[in-house]
């Protein structure tokens, strides 16, 4: 009985963080229709950013978060305008390969700068945990999840209520019409991409509490994010959230109930991806475009 409670608690906390990573990618694809295979590296760089902020500046990752997000937005904006904008009308093969190439550059840059040694950010308070209803919850996990869900909520509200948010939704639906109402489309594309990078970086900073940080952590995150999208849906926040929690639950269950589950839990995302696609080739909600 207790065990199940623990699984659920851990899933909820992990799910919150996964949501943040997935929503970023979902937003960027929904608007620009470019699939960014370097999204995992935004997460990775965010994690390293949090680590170095803590190590060099003694800045708590949560305090570093706004700066990391600002840096992510700026970097994403610049990258889009300089490089990625060329992909807007290119065949999908080019998009995949170019962003994959970017991922490669970033991974190896990280490897060169910071070596392959595993890092972790564990501010002191993160190590403490408390007991609630027989379930152990670590402060680190709780804060991470709370932060993640707050950011997702903020983005959701921004999309629904603000001028730019509405413009972003409009751009996602009809590029021509967006131009006609006076939206500066190249700028908004780049801004959206920047925001998605910022969200990835935030996810990374938050993940740094619970995962080891390595230059290659992005690849697994990318696969997880895709698994989430196949589970829940591209281009909408609600779907990404559902998918994220489902994946988190599956991973946690495997980690607890399968012998040596910790090692296998990495493979859960892959298995989920395949399993869903076998059963429902169009993704659970039929949102994956086949032909």
């Amino acid at each position: 009985m207790q065990f199940v409670g623990q699984v659920i608690a851990d899933s909820l906390l992990l799910g919150g963080i996964y949501t943040l990573a997935a929503v970023g990618l979902s937003l960027s694809f929904g608007v620009t229709r470019i699939i960014n295979f370097a999204h995992g590296e935004a997460v990775m760089l965010g994690a390293y950013g949090a680590f170095w902020a803590l190590t060099l500046l003694h800045l708590d990752p949560l305090l570093a978060l706004p700066f990391l997000m600002a840096a992510g937005t700026a970097a994403g904006y610049a990258l889009f305008r300089l490089v990625i904008s060329h992909l807007l009308d290119a065949p999908q093969e080019n998009q995949i390969l170019l962003t994959f190439g970017l991922a490669l550059i970033l991974q190896n840059l990280a490897l060169y700068l910071w070596t392959g040694d595993q890092r972790a950010t564990t501010p002191d308070y993160a190590l403490n945990s408390f007991l609630i209803g027989g379930v152990v919850v670590s402060y680190g996990q709780l804060i991470a999840a709370a932060m993640a869900l707050t950011l997702v909520g903020a983005v959701f509200v921004w999309l629904r209520r603000s001028e730019l948010g509405r413009a972003t939704r409009a751009l996602a639906e009809n590029r021509r019409a967006a131009v006609l109402v006076g939206i500066n489309v190249p700028h908004l594309y780049a801004l959206t991409f920047g925001i998605s990078v910022a969200m990835g970086a935030a996810a990374g900073a938050v993940l740094s509490f619970i995962l080891p940080i390595t230059p290659f952590m992005g690849a697994d995150i990318l696969v997880k994010t895709f698994a989430i999208i196949v589970l829940g849906g591209f281009g909408n926040v609600a779907g990404a959230t559902v998918g994220a929690f489902l994946l988190a639950f599956a991973e946690t269950a495997v980690a607890y109930y399968v012998p040596e589950g910790n090692g296998w839990s990495e493979a859960v995302a892959f298995a989920v991806l395949f399993a869903v696609l076998i059963v429902r080739p169009g993704g659970i909600l039929g949102q994956v475009v086949a032909e």
Partner: protein
């Protein structure tokens, strides 16, 4: 397109490759062997791309081929020849599975599935040491292992066979089917092509070729672990070689493979100690090529001649 005369340079290159492998110089042999397996990898990757399928997990096929050979030798006493046949069979089977599971998926979703398969196999290999010896690694049984020289020649001949196969394929109905599939599977259906069957065939053939390369490479290197077998660097090599040299053609992957091996060696020579230098450089090449020369070096060459 099919006139042999236009392919004289390609034939020449392959002849040089075999020649280099036949010579007694170990350094040259090594270069020739690595170039040969890269040619096979690139040709194999190119086969899938020609049908519109981007594989980000080509290492999966390479890896199962490697494990098939070494486990077959260690467990069943299979010599090189039989081991390689097994590798091809296993590879083809895995390819067929990948094609069937992904159904009609294209583009990014297909790509991510290939990545998932490769990574999944890597984790499985790691987590099942009873079968694969896990992270500890697996060694090729010395009794069954041929000399590097023999393997070098074998590799070169297999590369010639692979390129020859690709050349033959380019003249068959298959070639047009793939071109049609590349642009639009729906349209392909309209001209009487069953995308499903062609997809299974393409992926299986491509996989078999990559598995063959992985198998002979495992014999050559003599050691295998999940990272070596299923690591991303294999996929990257395959991609860069095909893209740099020019996708969709027969000669392109060959040109690209030679370039990639040369660049890799040069980087190792100049920046040997720098971690991630060659992979990062490959990433840069990939980005720059897609931005400025999506048709690759091969594309350039074709334009110059025409």
């Amino acid at each position: 397109m099919r006139s042999l005369a236009r392919h004289v340079p390609l034939i020449g290159v392959m002849a040089v490759l075999v020649g280099a492998a036949l010579l007694q110089d170990p350094v040259l042999n090594d270069r020739a062997f690595r170039t040969a397996t890269t040619i096979m990898l690139a040709t194999s990757w190119n086969l899938m791309v020609s049908a519109g399928l981007i594989s980000l997990g080509h290492a999966a096929f390479w890896g199962v081929g490697s494990y098939a050979c070494l486990l077959g030798a260690a467990g069943l006493g299979l010599p090189v020849g039989a081991g390689l046949l097994l590798a091809m069979a296993v590879g083809a089977a895995l390819g067929a599975v990948q094609a069937l599971v992904t159904g009609r998926l294209r583009g990014a979703f297909f790509a991510i599935c290939t990545l998932a398969m490769a990574e999944g196999l890597r984790v499985a290999a790691l987590m099942l040491p009873g079968l694969t010896h896990g992270a500890e690694g697996l060694f090729a049984p010395q009794a069954l292992r041929p000399t590097p020289h023999v393997l070098g020649v074998l590799g070169a001949l297999l590369a010639v066979a692979s390129v020859g196969f690709a050349f033959w394929l380019s003249g068959t109905r298959f070639h047009f089917a793939m071109a049609a599939m590349r642009s639009h599977e729906g349209a392909a259906q309209m001209i009487g092509i069953d995308p499903r069957r062609y997809r299974v065939a393409v992926v299986a053939m491509s996989a078999a070729m990559a598995s063959l390369a992985g198998g002979v490479s495992a014999w050559y290197g003599g050691y295998l672990d999940p990272g070596v077998a299923f690591g991303l660097q294999t996929t990257i090599t395959a991609q860069i070689a095909a893209i740099l040299g020019g996708m969709f053609s027969v000669g392109g992957p060959v040109v690209g493979a030679i370039a990639v091996v040369a660049v890799g060696d040069a980087t190792r020579g100049l920046l040997g100690g720098v971690q991630g230098a060659s992979q990062g450089l490959f990433g840069l090449i990939l980005v720059v090529t897609i931005l400025f020369r999506p048709r690759g070096i091969g594309g350039l060459l074709r334009r110059a001649r025409a």
